[in-house]
Structure formats: C-alpha cells, structure tokens
C-alpha cells in the first residue's frame, strides 16, 4: 500500500487480509517521522495508541468479524476535536493548562468504530480565528506543495496532513472558510456539510451560529466514505438536526446530465486572481454551467459573517481576554476584543440579513442544483506575507482569503471544495455549492469532475522543495 493510497484501497486490502492495519499504521508513522518536521501538520502524534488500535482491527479480520468500512485507514483530527486523554488545544496555549479530554468527540469515535486508525491531533490557527495556520505558539503549518507558503486555515494541519500523504483523510472545522480555504491552498477535497448536519459535540467552539465540522480527503470517494461514517443524529447536541443518514458513497457514479449548474458572478468574480477564475471556468465548462448567476447581497453577507464572528467569538473568550490577554496571539486577541466591543444592536441586523439572504439563495436553488464559485481569491501565499497584490491593488491575506467562502457558510449551505487541475504550480480549488441538505448532489458533481480529470490531487512530495 503506497503512502498516497486511497482510504478505499487501504480498507479493501485490510479487510481482505492482504495487508495488516499495523503495517499501514507503521508506514504512516514512519512517513510522518521523516517529513513532518518540515511541514508541522501535527501537534500530537499518538503512535502507541494508533498501533494498539490497528492491532485490534487486525484481530477482528483474523477472527472473521467486520472490521468496518474504514478498516486500518490512518486519519487525524484538528486539535479542537476532543481526543480521550489528550488536552484539546484549539491552537492556543491557554487551553494547554486544561485537563485532557475524558472521551473522544463523537465524530472521532464514529470513525474509530468504523476501523479508521487515529494517528494524532493537527495544527490550526489559534481558536480557529485565521486563514493561514501561522500559529504563533505551535509554528506555521507549511504547505506541502511549497514549504515557503501557508497551508491555509484555520484547519491547515488537516489539509496539509492529507496533501502530504500522512493520513488518507482528516477532520477539520469551518466557521468562515476554515475547511475550504486550506483545501484550496493544499490541493485536496474538503466538505463543509449543511449547518447542523454533523454533530459538533466534543469540539472547541468558535462561533456557535456558524461552526461546521467536516472531512478532508484526496479522492471524492474517500471524502464520501468519511462523511457517511460521520453522519447520524446526536440527541446530546441541540444543533445537530436529525435527518437520518443520507449516504453519499453509493451515489458517486450517478450521471450529472440532469444537474442545472450555474457559475456565481458579481461578488464572486471581483478581486479574484486569474488562476482562481480559471479554476471556476474549467469546472463550469465541464458541468455545462450557465455563467453570471447573481446571488444578491453576497457582499453584505460576508460583512455580516465578519461582524457575527467578532461578536460571538469575542464573547466566548471574554474572561480570558480580561484575565490573560498576553497569552493570546496578539492578532487573535485584538480582533476578539474589537469584536466584543461592537454595539449589540449589530446582531439584530445580522440576523435579519441572514434570514433574508437565505431566502435569496433558496430562490436561486429553484433554478439551479449546483452553484460554482472560487474557494479562494488566490492560491497559497508566502508565510509571513501579510499583503498580496491583485490587479495592481494591495490586499490583506488574512482578512480576504475567505472572501468567497464567508457568504456561503453564513447561511449554512453545503459545499465541497474541489482542487481543479489548472496546470499551475500551486493548487487552487472551487466551491461546489448546493441547497441545504443536498450533499448527495455535490458528491455527484465532484465525482464527475474527478472522473473527467478536471479535478484531482497531485502528490506534492515529488516537488523539488521536498526531495531529499
């Protein structure tokens, strides 16, 4: 089994006893030991525990039992997911003082129950407030495609781990683009499901009204396998809507000829770099999309997501902002303080806009099944570079990487970020967006783009930057 093998292939081999879960786990741990010093995707590696879990999978196979759909598949989780016996850092040093988690987050537990082997916890922006994973406490996670560049954030470790072949899939979270931005920068698939689809219990919150969780993977099939295992009700989390399990994997091969596809114009094409627009063009052309579809008030929706993030995020951390301000990354602290200082009446306007804007989006989905937009306005920027120039105009990287992601997550629409093969050296992704709860449609479209060779993942470790 190669380092870049898919989860589906690994599980098939392990289930058929052609390879052992232990050998797959050992190979993954060796690869991490060799390469992660340069990438810095992991903040905790749980080698002994992973090997013990892998031995359990192999024992099940030997006994003729069902080892699960993800038998022996290595995975890891952003360090805001609870992992039993490990302190949930959420990218901070403030949380490092806290007691270890007493149990796995339900998503971690479900994946382990399906036979997937947890290798460790992954780096992120402090408290998920960022788009670059330039974490001042734990160091930057470097982009496996170019070690001088950011991995994106806030789930940068999750995207980089998958891109580098450390794990077959990973878990991340997305409040304003934190799955879609790093998926785009690192050239992997990422799913931000409908708001409320997957349980967030056992994860460190950021913005209650906007937080989502979801997987990253190198193939659409692997993304579907992980997502299908993660689905299911959680009576202990009020935000998790019980809509039953809506499996994505069995529908991947379905035709897309009946899908009505549109490319979002207006806000979603201003300020984009040429590679970003090219990715959208290629995906749109393959899916026979209509161009220039307008989603009204997208700019205001993005502004509202900005304000809401500050209000709720600032309130969440208010006690620590009072008591231990110096223990925050200054950039995180000052944005949180400004956020909580906003006039409370802003919240009512945000909520009114959110309801109305959802109505605008619903009306569009009367005519379209899939909408396409850039995942990011540009490809991965250099580490430590606060500004880039687009069309001769300077642009703040941290504030603008989520320019096109924020108006979509603001109303909880499901999105697959798919890496498009533009021919450029650095990866770039598009957002495939569907109506609420229509993840199955997204998976069909993403699988089609992959089959057609329009989307796909390349192995960055063949790049000169990482060759020994």
């Amino acid at each position: 089994v190669s380092r870049f093998a898919s989860a589906a292939a690994i599980a098939a081999h392990v289930r058929a006893a052609r390879v052992t879960a232990v050998s797959v786990t050992e190979a993954a741990l060796d690869h991490i030991a060799r390469e992660d010093g340069r990438i810095n995707a992991f903040t905790a590696i749980l080698a002994d525990r992973a090997l013990a879990q892998a031995r359990g999978v192999d024992a099940k196979v030997r006994a003729g039992g069902d080892p699960g759909s993800l038998a022996g598949v290595p995975f890891a989780a952003k360090n805001l997911f609870d992992i039993e016996g490990v302190t949930t850092l959420a990218g901070s040093i403030i949380e490092a003082d806290k007691a270890p988690a007493v149990e796995d987050a339900p998503l971690v537990a479900r994946l382990k129950d399906a036979g997937a082997v947890l290798l460790g916890a992954l780096n992120m922006d402090e408290y998920a407030y960022g788009f670059t994973t330039e974490n001042s406490h734990y160091g930057p996670t470097r982009n496996p495609h170019d070690l001088e560049r950011v991995s994106g954030g806030s789930s940068g470790g999750s995207a980089a781990a998958v891109a580098a072949g450390f794990t077959a899939f990973s878990l991340g979270s997305d409040t304003n683009g934190s799955i879609r931005v790093p998926a785009s920068f690192c050239g992997v698939y990422g799913l931000k499901p409908t708001f409320g689809r997957l349980t967030r219990r056992g994860t460190y919150p950021f913005v209650h009204s906007l937080d989502h969780v979801g997987p990253f993977a190198r193939t659409v099939a692997d993304l579907a396998l992980a997502y299908d295992v993660c689905q299911g009700p959680d009576p202990l989390e009020a935000n998790c809507v019980d809509r039953g399990v809506s499996p994505a994997f069995p529908n991947l091969g379905k035709p897309v000829s009946d899908l009505r596809v549109g490319v979002l114009g207006g806000w979603f094409e201003t300020s984009a770099a040429p590679e970003s627009l090219l990715a959208v063009d290629l995906a749109g052309e393959a899916l026979g999309a209509i161009r220039g579809v307008m989603l009204r008030d997208a700019e205001a929706a993005r502004a509202a997501a900005f304000c809401l993030t500050g209000l709720e995020g600032g309130q969440l951390h208010l006690n620590d902002l009072r008591a231990r301000p110096d223990d925050f990354d200054p950039a995180t602290r000052d944005r949180l303080i400004a956020g909580v200082m906003q006039p409370p009446e802003t919240l009512a306007a945000v909520r009114r806009l959110r309801a109305a804007y959802l109505g605008e989006a619903r009306a569009l989905f009367e005519d379209f099944d899939i909408l396409i937009a850039p995942a990011t306005p540009f490809s991965a920027t250099r580490i430590g570079e606060p500004m880039i120039e687009l069309g001769g105009k300077p642009m703040l990287v941290r504030a603008n990487a989520g320019l096109y992601a924020q108006p979509i997550s603001f109303i909880g629409l499901p999105v697959i970020a798919a890496p498009v093969k533009t021919g450029a050296r650095l990866p770039i992704g598009v957002q495939l967006i569907a109506a609420p709860w229509a993840e199955q449609t997204l998976f069909r479209a993403a699988a089609f783009l992959e089959r057609e060779g329009v989307a796909g993942v390349t192995d960055p470790l063949a790049a000169p930057e990482l060759v020994h």
Binding site: A303, P325, P330, Q342, P436, W437
Partner: protein, 51 residues
C-alpha cells in the same frame, strides 16, 4: 463611533498601548462592515434562520 475607553471599561478590559491601536483599526473595519449589513438588512424582517 464607539468610545474605546468607555467600552473597554464597560467590558472590564485593559488595553496595552499597542493592542489599543490594533483594536481601534479592527473596530473601524467592523464598523464599515456593520454599515454594509445595516444597509442591506430588511428593516422589519424576520430574524428566524431555519434551514
């Protein structure tokens, strides 16, 4: 326009001189964003968000 010192006192927050300048910049950005939201949000619209 928010009075930074008054608001910090209300919230029982202490700002270092460097933090103060960054908070002021961030607040200005948020105020601009809030103005965009106010302009687009329906005045008497519903606040219900149900997917």
């Amino acid at each position: 326009m928010i009075d930074l010192d008054e608001r910090a006192a209300q919230l029982n927050l202490t700002l270092s001189p460097q933090s103060r300048e960054e908070v002021r910049k961030n607040l200005a950005l948020l105020a601009a964003m809030a103005a965009v939201v106010e302009a687009a949000a329906p005045v008497d619209g519903s606040e219900d968000f149900i997917l």
